[in-house]
């Protein structure tokens, strides 16, 4: 790097320094760098700027203009995703279970060119026994259930009878035994038939329907789509851990819209980025114009502790140091009583409590104080 630029190595971001070096003739670097630094300083946020409030209002005001509940169709009618205000609320509240979890699975070469795309999609999708059963026949005399199977569908996904029996064994093995009936179907019998009755048979029938057979748990729908020049798989339902384990998945680009899952699998840094991306996606879809830095600030606040903290009275607000600020948000009685029990002290360091006391708020012109002690 140029010697002149090195002086700025801790003052300017790397990308800017690089750009100067690439685009400037060596003779002018000193002048240019000085000018860039001057401009860079000008764009910095001033001390005492109420960034949090400006961010809150900058996201909140366009929020009032958002269409209440829009669904974005990802190709198929059944695959809809919560968008609009409900989605933003969901993200910023830090909800553990979201309304429509979704994944975008990128594939490694050669699969991203369309090789075996159909099979891959089917492998990912979670299948339950009910999908392969055409009819349940309850035999009251022998206390058994005869399952007539949809062999075509089984063939398409590559499910054999043995796999079904294994699946039933795995989840209901303690209650039933199952075997082939020789006509392409299955027979399920109750264990210890004497004390069991018709009622149990019905219960078992309902349980059989949802027995997990194959695929990845939680992925209820799959949809291979061609995006630009490669194939990706969009899923309804999300299970990041299992999906990233698959060898044909490009784990560098595959994402989920479930923020909590990202926290579990990829960690807090990825979570912050996911929050920014997801919120920005919604705002963009509504053709609103919010500076991404406002969202970044919110995401930073939510993730700064290493865990996701929602913008709720249980999350970020509960972290506020001021009793009065917390009490002025929600559940004032709880906060006042708890504060009185432990003798909490409010140092009046933030905005709300100073408004309550009619004192200058410590932002902008209210921030500077006197260094000199005034003689009494």
């Amino acid at each position: 790097m140029h010697a002149e630029l090195k002086k700025y190595s801790d003052k300017l971001p790397k990308s800017l320094l690089q750009e100067i070096e690439e685009k400037c003739p060596a003779s002018k670097i000193k002048k240019v760098a000085a000018r860039v630094y001057e401009e860079y300083c000008k764009t910095k946020i001033d001390a005492g700027e109420a960034v949090g409030l400006v961010s809150a209002e900058s996201i909140g005001e366009p929020g009032t203009q958002m269409t209440l509940n829009t669904f974005h169709f990802a190709g198929v009618a059944e695959m809809n995703v919560t968008m609009g205000l409900p989605r933003i609320i969901e993200i910023l509240d830090g909800r553990k279970s979201i309304a429509t979890p979704m994944m975008e699975i990128f594939l490694k070469s050669p699969f991203n060119k369309g090789k075996d795309i159909h099979n891959i999609a089917l492998r990912i999708k979670e299948s339950i026994l009910g999908e392969f059963v055409k009819e349940y026949v309850i035999n009251i005399v022998d206390l058994k259930i005869e399952l007539k199977l949809n062999l075509e569908k089984m063939g398409a996904i590559g499910v054999k009878h043995a796999l079904l029996i294994k699946a039933i064994d795995k989840s209901l093995g303690k209650e039933v035994t199952s075997k082939e009936d020789g006509e392409g179907g299955l027979v399920v019998k109750l264990r210890g038939r004497d004390e069991k009755g018709l009622n149990d048979l019905y219960k078992i029938k309902e349980k059989l329907r949802s027995v997990y057979v194959c695929g990845i748990k939680g992925i209820s729908q799959v949809l291979p789509v061609k995006r630009r020049d490669e194939f990706i798989v969009i899923t309804a339902g999300s299970n990041m851990k299992k999906i990233l384990d698959l060898d044909f998945v490009d784990e560098t680009r595959t994402t989920s819209n479930d923020i909590y899952e990202i926290r579990k699998v990829l960690g807090i840094e990825a979570t912050r980025q996911a929050i920014i991306d997801e919120v920005f996606k919604v705002i963009e879809a509504q053709a609103l114009n919010v500076d991404i830095r406002h969202i970044m600030l919110v995401a930073d606040t939510m993730c700064s502790s290493g865990e996701i903290k929602g913008i709720t009275r249980y999350g970020v607000v509960s972290e506020k140091s001021s009793v009065l600020a917390r009490a002025s948000f929600e559940t004032p009685i709880k906060h006042i009583i708890n504060a009185s029990l432990v003798g909490e002290i409010d140092f009046l360091n933030s905005v709300v409590e100073n408004v309550m006391l009619n004192q200058p708020v410590p932002v902008g012109t209210g921030l500077p104080g006197l260094l000199t002690k005034v003689a009494k």
């Binding site: 209002e57 009619n358 004192q359 902008g364 012109t365 002690k373």
Partner: protein, 600 residues
């Protein structure tokens, strides 16, 4: 087999439901069964429902048999002569009333020419699908449905001749238009409802053009000459009411000029307009806070101790004076007795309202506007024939709202004014627009309605031709005089010492949570403090225990009620609301301690 329900109760089964339905219906039409019975068959449920109870909205329709309506020209002639009445038509089975459920089984034709053998009924007129007020909008078929409802809603707020006996009535908060006119463009409902006996608007000349930008964003511009000639002049009536209430112990209010000893006596000057009976004289010019009815009340609390003291016998002043911001002339005085036998005095105050900037005007098409400027007649633009419009309407109000009927009324009104006749603008049944235009052409004007217009100030001809015509405009009861409000200082609430709320209480305009945020976002910290200074107080605080101390102004000494007077007590400036919440904490056994620290 279909199940049959009478008023929701199961009563039996019918084998052939079609036969059953026809039988019930023919019997109803011939008068065997009451005419207010309705029957309908639900295809999904395979059930027949018969309803006879009250609460069903029903509407009349002409019965159609094999594509031929039962109502013939013969009937109509008989109706015109008065030989037949409406009830006869119902009795004869020519017209029947259907409720919402039976309508589901009927196939109703809009027009006679639409009839097919499948139709069961014919609409008396397509107009009936609109409500009463909505049918007062002319050319309603040429307007967006949403605007049509807005237009009908606005008409309900218009000032007119609300009742003919207004001089002898005492109504609360009413307006009366001075020169109401019958609309030039009418609908049939105007005639049916005798609109000419209680009109609520005036026919004026409207030009669709801008004027120095004072009619942007839906504002309108008025001609000062028109106002001086009486356009949109109205009277506002509001009574001041006083009642001689009776209290326990045989005490009662007394209407009369208050004595000088009375507690809260204002001043002689304040009672100068009252006559001996304590009531103001008619035609007195009054303005805000003037006493209109003098009244005294017995003392508020009567305890046994006070009975012997002199002060207790002093009555309270409780006169009725004109509300803040009101003015007018005493119009009528009514002295009577109410249901409880108490003396009741009502003083009706009248206030002439001349159209001013801020008053609300509306055409009948949901095109409302606020007066933005009143232009001297000499400065108004004028047409080639010398007509000066009464009102200038902004052209930007038309495209997005698609109120085509507004434009048609303008042309129809112009034709009507020039031809000296009323134009029928009944929705779905109006006079032909082309014919109206042809008539306008024959009267010597362009059939498009545009005219050459000259600048009122320079006399130059405008490059564009301006759309000018006559329209029925209405003044709405929302006048600035009733809404104008500002405050610098004024009354405060007792509990919080913050300004009162609302115009009636001369209240402040709240700087709310979100407005506060804008100050913080600008970093205008000290300005924000100044805004919130309305309830600031200086309280002495004990440095040792941290609760609010006492300042004895008589001895000029500060002391703490807890720690005594040997502690340091300092003054702190806080909002009264915060002092209040500290007191509330204390009442809840929470000890809020203030730790003071010198700022400098």
């Amino acid at each position: 087999m279909s199940e049959v329900f009478l008023n929701g109760n199961f009563i039996g089964n019918v084998e052939h439901k079609d036969e059953f339905l026809t039988r019930v219906r023919t019997d109803r039409r011939s008068g065997v069964i009451p005419a207010n019975l309705n029957i309908h068959f639900d295809n999904d449920l395979d059930q027949v429902f018969i309803e006879t109870l009250k609460g069903r909205t029903r509407r009349p329709l002409i019965i159609v048999k094999e594509g031929i309506p039962s109502l013939t020209d013969k009937h109509i002639k008989q109706l015109e002569k008065g030989e037949l009445a409406w009830s006869d038509l119902v009795d004869q089975g020519i017209i029947e009333y259907l409720d919402a459920a039976e309508e589901e089984n009927a196939l109703v034709a809009f027009h006679e020419q639409d009839l097919t053998p499948d139709h069961t009924h014919l609409e008396i007129s397509p107009l009936v699908m609109l409500g009463y007020v909505t049918t007062l909008v002319p050319f309603g078929e040429y307007i967006q449905a949403a605007r049509l409802s807005i237009g009908s809603k606005n008409q309900k707020h218009s000032i007119g001749l609300y009742t003919a006996n207004f001089p002898v009535r005492v109504d609360m908060d009413v307006n009366l238009l001075h020169y109401p006119q019958i609309p030039l463009v009418k609908s049939i409902i105007h005639d049916i409802s005798h609109y000419d006996t209680h009109p609520s608007g005036q026919n004026i000349v409207v030009a669709v053009m801008s004027y120095k930008g004072y009619n942007m964003e839906d504002a309108v511009i008025l001609n000062k000459g028109s106002i001086e000639r009486g356009f949109a002049r109205s009277t506002y009536y509001r009574p001041a009411i006083a009642e001689e209430l009776r209290y326990s112990g045989g005490l009662m209010d007394e209407i009369g000029v208050p004595d000088k000893e009375v507690k809260g006596y204002k001043s002689e000057k304040d009672y100068r307009m009252l006559e001996e009976d304590g009531i103001i004289y008619p035609e007195a010019v009054v303005s805000e806070d003037d006493v209109v009815i003098g009244k005294t009340s017995p003392p508020r609390f009567l305890s046994s101790l006070d009975e012997y003291s002199l002060a207790s016998n002093i009555r309270r002043e409780s006169s009725v004076s004109l509300r803040h911001g009101e003015k007018g002339v005493v119009d009528m005085i009514l002295i009577t007795e109410n249901e409880e036998g108490n003396k009741l005095v009502q003083v009706r105050v009248r206030d002439q309202r001349i159209a001013e900037i801020g008053d609300k005007f509306v055409s009948r098409h949901g095109q409302k506007g606020i007066v933005g400027l009143i232009v001297p007649e000499s400065d108004m633009p004028f047409t080639a024939s010398g007509i000066k419009p009464d009102l200038l309407f902004t052209p930007h109000g038309i495209p997005s709202r698609m109120t085509v009927s507004h434009l048609i009324e303008l042309i129809a009104g112009k034709t009507g004014a020039l031809a000296g006749r009323y134009i029928d603008g009944t929705t779905f049944d109006s006079e032909n627009e082309d014919d109206i235009r042809k008539e306008l052409l024959s009267l010597g004007f362009r059939d498009t309605g545009v005219e050459t217009v000259y600048n009122g100030m320079s006399g130059e001809q405008f490059t564009a031709r301006i759309f000018v015509g006559n329209m029925y405009y209405q003044k709405l009861r929302h006048m600035v005089a009733n809404k104008l409000h500002a405050r610098a200082r004024g009354p405060i609430q007792l509990l919080t010492r913050q300004p009162t709320e609302g115009r009636a209480k001369e209240g402040g305009l709240r700087l709310g949570e979100m407005e506060k945020d804008t100050f913080v976002a600008h970093g205008a910290s000290l300005l924000l403090k100044e805004r919130f200074d309305s309830d600031k107080t200086v309280v002495p605080v004990c440095e040792s225990c941290g609760v609010i101390a006492i300042y004895d102004s008589y001895k000029d000494k500060r002391y703490c009620p807890v720690c005594g007077d040997n502690v340091e007590v300092n003054d702190v400036e806080i909002s009264y609301a915060f002092k209040l919440i500290l007191d509330e904490f204390k009442s809840l056994c929470i000890y809020p301690k203030l730790n003071l620290r010198s700022k400098y």
